[in-house]
Amino acid sequence: MDRKIYLDNAATTKTRPEVVEAMLPYFTELYGNPSSVYEFATQNKKAVDEARGIIARALGADISEIYFTGSGTEADNWALKAVADAYASKGNHIITSKIEHHAILHTCEYLEKHGVEVSYIDVDENGILKLDQLEKAIRPTTVLISVMFANNEIGTLQPIKEIGEIAKKHNILFHTDAVQAFGQLPIDVNELGIDMLSASAHKLNGPKGIGFLYIRKGVKIRSFVHGGAQERQRRAGTENVPGIVGFGKAVELALATMQERAEKEIKLRNLLMKRILEEIPFVRVNGDKVRRLPNNANFSFQFIEGESLLIMLDMNNICASSGSACTSGSLDPSHVLLAIGLPHEIAHGSLRLTVSDEITEEEIHYTVDKIKEIVEKLRKMSPLYEDFMKKR
């Protein structure tokens, strides 16, 4: 294959050419600062509000409930830190899951150092939150439940509606990190009882460096970035106009193509899973079989280590990702894979492939062929495989 096969769409996506097209005028022509009085800049203000409107409608939210940030991570930080601060008089307890993104987990760690108590709820072997454990963890001091919409590694979708109902029943705010789900699945914040929601443009073929936080009207909030009066005085800093416009365009396109894309991606993903499970021994699929993101496949290949696999795939022009510790320089493999009960050595051999609608069946076949070859090669090199085969 000459062409690069990009199977890491959970890490980031290609910015669609139409999105770039939409952004371009706001660099060199309509470059004014939206806070300015003159007509030249009010055009930008309008463009920003148009993008805000597209996003609000995508969620069933009001336009005044969308606040742009510099990333999904910033939105996550803001949501947790603001609620901890604004509701401190009610309580100091937050509930989250064990498989959140680091944007949530490390923010929780930070909050724990500052007097907040955090309960980390377990997931089952498919990565689904244990709702009974969640409900038991609720205390009179609980101010927030934050559970991700879809997991970034294993693609598992959480029972968001049920969590929303539990939160509502106990009069607790509910935040969801929807960075992986927004634009891939329909989301209605009212139907699902979501009070706050984080998203990031570059995960849905929008530009990097722009995210948003949805904050339901009536939720008490604190600013995270202090300064000018932008974003209804909630998030200071000159608006990233091209980024916001690009985000709006990306959402518009994502909504228009959602169904069709999902169908195509599920087909490709299922082909991938079927062939790998049938043709490679000692492999397991991680994550829920049904309740998962359309584009996500996650495997553990026993006896081999993920980074080696990635590098060899890379040499064959295939871009993928792994929950291996080696890629991050830490010694522990992904907390998500450990949370679903994988032993360390299995977790180390995991591979995430996330397709897009630009991938062809032919590329999937090529990829599986290569994975087969590489897994075989690495197992031949593996002392764990040697031991295992000798013992049989």
């Binding site: 026993q302 280590e305 080696s308 291996s324 032993p343 050595e345 031991d387």
Partner: protein, 145 residues
């Protein structure tokens, strides 16, 4: 991320395999941490390493350092092999990223573990060689899925 040398030794690793009835075998590392190296040594009566093989579970750097370490000790005497440090392995590979330095340490340890096994089997003592710490035993379990 990796130098050309590392990539070369990762993609075309030298001396992969096993030696039946090896003079010494050493296995170091830990599946939990994602790196296991096993070195087989074939040492003749004059104490020269005639052949060496390895198997490694681990990242690109782990494979490359194993491969380079086997190259560096092949044909050497036991005492010369003992002088092959992790630094020598790294230099021979034109360097490693900082987070991967532990792989080169593991390669050094694997050689030492195999030499220790050889000394034990022969009932001799090799000057300057200490019992390897992180040796893991062959029987260690790895669950199947």
């Amino acid at each position: 991320m990796y130098t050309e040398k590392v990539m070369d030794h990762f993609t075309n690793p030298r001396n992969v395999g096993e030696i039946e009835n090896a003079s010494g075998v050493g296995t170091v590392g830990n599946a939990k941490c994602g790196d296991i190296m096993r070195i087989y040594l074939d040492i003749d009566d004059s104490g020269v390493i005639k052949d060496v093989k390895f198997k490694t579970f681990g990242c690109g750097a782990a494979v490359a350092t194993s491969s380079m370490a086997t190259e560096l000790v092949k044909g050497k005497t036991v005492n010369e092999a003992l002088q092959v440090t992790n630094k020598a392995v790294m230099e021979a590979l034109d360097g490693l990223p900082p987070v991967k330095v532990h792989c080169s340490l593991l390669a050094e340890e694997a050689i030492h573990a195999a030499l220790w096994d050889y000394a034990e089997k022969k009932g001799i003592k090799i000057e300057g060689l200490e019992k390897p710490k992180s040796d893991i035993h062959e029987g260690e379990e790895s669950e199947e899925y």
